[in-house]
Amino acid sequence: MSETQTQSFSIDALRAGDRAEFARLVDAYSAPIYRLGLKMLGNPQDAEDVLQNTFLNALTHFADFEGRSSISTWLYRIASNEALMLLRRKKNTVNLDDFQPEDAEETPLPEVFVDWSTMPEDELLSGESKKALDTAVKKLPEALRMVFLLRDIEGISIRDTAEILNLTETNVKTRLLRARMFLREHLSTYYSERLTREEKKDG
């Protein structure tokens, strides 16, 4: 969880057009919103568009903000909508992910049972490993990726994630479980191949 979520902002000042307060809000939320854009769209140009559009949008809609949710939830909702809209606009080809039933009843069962969790930290965090993890995150179907990013990367609660994405808490839980299982499976395949490779090298 970032320190962003513990800062507070004056809604009245923002509504009244207080530039200093707005600048403070922009600095507090730029990093998580840019990160969300990067992970959803996969490139810095699009992440920058998400970032700019989110705050431009916020700026014109402060008057509509009713304070029923927190400013953080409100901003994340704008940002996730911007990211999803951009993603849809950019898709020229039909993506197989679109045909996956998002909340079908069964979560795929695990298939790789290699316990790599006790591997040394420096091996788990090597450049190559980070790349494998990044690739796995990119492969997550969008609907799962968004939930996973908000919950596991940004540390937002199930309840707030549901509010941001306009989903039920049950849907969020299902998607989160599926995203985690998907990533676990990918990482397990990657690390088990690596362990086999190293055993061969040592033997």
């Binding site: 530039r19 730029s30 810095p44 970032l51 049972f113 316990d115 990367i153 985690r180 299982m181 676990r184």
Partner: protein, 87 residues
Amino acid sequence: MADHLHNNCQDLLGSLSEYIDGELPADLCHEIEKHLEGCENCRVVLNTTKRTIDLVQVPMEEEAVPEDVRERLFKRLQLDSYLHPKG
């Protein structure tokens, strides 16, 4: 390999996320822990899932907002005069 999984494993899998996040009632946790004692595959799935979550939470360097991105953002929002100092 998934054919070894019996009903208990599937039940555990369904509650795995909530178990990891500490959101399950104590009696359910107890049931899960009892099952884990006797099921190595489920222990592996639990350990590797926990580790997966740990790993994604290690922030990556390139994810900070680059200075030029911040500058363009502030200009676009007509916040030029607030560019410096940061924060």
